[in-house]
């Protein structure tokens, strides 16, 4: 896209030139300068708005994390954030997000492959629209619909127990990390499907035909063509899912009432005022820690993405 835009604006300035060269160049330079001035005015409100309501809060969290209650510099907040319960919550959060993202990535890719291979237009449209809707579904209502399904008194729980299988006697609980992993699938799988359909559709028919005419078996096609091509976008998608799961707050809070120590939950309870003496800015250190985790993921994403975009344009 960016390339075509540049081409277009380039050709504009070329076709704009027609009279004698020096005067034209002067006019262009002037209009360029004028354009630049207008530029900053027109784009400014949006940038200022984002800076004010997103960057200022984010930066203030990081800055406050380095201060104690009296505003002096300290590392004590971080020291506490990487020890004991808080360290445990970082580990639990990362484990949960990793496992959820992994399961969703595998299931989502299979579903995206199945959808892309279907010639039934209605199924395709249904899955694409459905994924777009479900990927945005997270949050509180999702938690309650799972409580209704496999909660203590859920419909499926009851059905199973009347069939002689007691879910909760076999170590399952919806209100646990396992339960959250399952519930998160509800918005992670659709997200994976949405992300993977374009790269799968970009697998060029010529490549498939070429491999077929060279006598490749189905296994050989996937081993040497399909999987190598889809691995980078899958990795990138996995990182997106991980980030999404890591930042999720509403579902976990509604489902477990804050009993499972995850970073967003801990941070939430610190914000809601469950602060012990001497922990004034501990929340900010946790917040800064979350930003670090997400930033690392984003950097990995950018790296993987550069590899991925080589083939799939």
């Amino acid at each position: 896209m960016a390339v075509t835009d540049e081409l277009r604006s380039g050709s504009d300035s070329v076709s704009g030139g027609g009279g004698d060269a020096p005067a034209d160049a002067g006019r262009r330079r002037r209009s360029w300068r004028k354009g630049r001035w207008h530029t900053s005015i027109g784009a400014l409100p949006f940038l200022v708005y984002v800076a004010l309501f997103l960057l200022v809060p984010a930066i203030s969290v990081v800055a406050t994390a380095f201060k104690n209650g009296n505003g002096q510099f300290t590392m004590a907040n971080f020291d506490e954030a990487v020890h004991g319960v808080y360290l445990q919550s970082f580990i639990a959060s990362i484990k949960l997000s990793f496992a959820s993202a992994l399961i969703a990535a595998v299931v989502g890719v299979l579903a995206a492959l199945a959808v892309s291979a279907t010639d039934n237009r209605i199924v395709r449209a249904l899955v694409t629209a459905g994924s777009g809707v479900f990927a945005n579904t997270g949050g509180v209502p999702l938690a309650f619909s799972f409580i209704a399904t496999v909660g203590n008194f859920g419909v499926v729980t009851k059905l199973l127990s009347s069939a002689g299988f007691d879910l909760y006697a076999h170590g399952f609980s919806l209100y646990s990390v396992l339960g959250l992993t399952i519930v998160y699938q509800y918005f992670l799988i659709p997200l994976m499907i949405l992300i993977m359909i374009p790269p799968i559709q970009a697998l060029r028919k010529e490549w498939i035909d070429a491999s077929a005419s060279l006598g490749a078996s189905r296994f050989q096609f996937w081993r040497w063509v399909g999987i190598p091509l889809l691995t980078p976008p899958m990795l990138a998608a996995f990182i997106v899912l991980f980030t999404d799961a890591f930042a999720a707050y509403a579902t976990a809070e509604a489902l477990t009432s804050g009993t499972i120590p995850l970073v967003p939950i801990q941070l939430g309870s610190l914000i809601s005022g469950n602060v012990l003496a001497g922990q004034t800015n501990l929340g900010d250190a946790l917040g800064a820690g979350m930003i670090v985790v997400v930033l690392v993921a984003a950097l990995l994403y950018a790296y993987v993405q550069r590899k991925a975009s080589k083939w799939l344009r």
């Binding site: 960016a2 492959l113 499926v156 997200l191």
Partner: protein, 288 residues
């Protein structure tokens, strides 16, 4: 069936028929299993919400809910915040996106990445930042739901910006502007009579996505102690499960219908290749 020979497949040759060389059993098994995972909780919720004592069928969860004044007041609050957020979003997006397309086409990608920034900062962290940095603002902003609308504009940007941006991309804005200006129209007239009428579906899409986001947002509202609709839902859930499930079902259906409309309208308009909102946000993020 599963192992059709490659030659036969090529013979069948239709567009996308089986270029991926996946057998029918595989396709149907995957789609049915995944589909079941998504449908069962909805069916179970419906059943759960109509369940009375001794497995009888009852509407009592719903009638009790509609009789609760808090149901209406929190819903009204969420709607107000949503409308305010949509208005602010449009006021911010329309001039910015059009400006970027007309004057700064080279920076289009950059602005798009700015709009994706909220995905990098978890909303819990944003909330904490809002508390630490805006605590001292006048009470009319910080102490009222106005702050929610102000923040939701930013947090919904990944969905709204992309939708509107791709709508602007799909029309020939430059020609419209040139034609309008050569006829002597100022920017107000241009917007009113030439540009915005052509962007109706984009405006609608961005508005619906933003509004749906506002109706469902929980983290910021609950941590800033505003009892919006989702916060009320959690409060109900701690006392009365069947009412909370009934309420969730209503909430889900009411967000799904408009979202599905957006998805369908947009995928048709663009021949099914390009979607909207999160879909194209992700698509663009992946394409970068």
């Amino acid at each position: 069936m599963a192992t059709v020979t490659p030659d036969l497949q090529r013979g069948a040759g239709g567009e996308g028929s089986n270029v991926l060389r996946l057998g029918k059993p595989f396709r149907y098994t995957v789609l049915i299993l995944v589909g079941a995972f998504f449908i069962i909780p909805i069916v179970a919720s419906a059943r759960f919400s109509f369940l009375g004592n001794n497995n009888s069928f009852t509407f009592s969860a719903y009638t009790q809910l509609f009789g609760t004044p808090q149901f209406w007041s929190t819903l009204w609050l969420s709607v107000k915040v949503g409308v305010g957020t949509v208005a602010l979003t449009l006021a911010l997006l329309i001039p910015t996106v059009i400006f970027v397309h007309v004057r700064l086409p080279r920076l289009r990608r950059l602005f798009e990445s700015v709009s994706l920034l909220p995905l990098v900062i978890p909303s819990v962290v944003v909330t904490l930042g809002v508390i630490t940095s805006f605590r001292n603002l006048p009470n009319i902003i910080y102490g009222t739901p106005v702050i929610l609308a102000l923040e939701y504009v930013v947090l919904a940007l990944p969905y709204s910006y992309r939708t509107f941006d791709s709508a602007v991309q799909s029309i020939d804005l430059k020609t419209l502007v040139d034609a309008g200006q050569s006829l002597g129209a100022g920017w107000i007239k241009l917007l009113r009579f030439a540009i915005l009428p052509n962007l109706r579906s984009g405006l609608l899409g961005a508005s619906i996505l933003t509004f749906a986001f506002c109706l469902g947002e929980f983290a910021v509202a609950s941590l800033l102690s505003f009892t919006t609709f989702p916060v009320f839902l959690v409060q109900v859930g701690r006392l009365e499960a069947s009412q909370a499930v009934a309420l969730s079902l209503i909430a889900l259906i009411f967000t799904w219908i408009p979202l599905a409309l957006v998805m369908i309208v947009f995928s048709q308009r663009r021949g099914g290749r390009r979607g909207t909102g999160i879909e194209s946000a992700i698509e663009s993020a992946v394409a970068d």
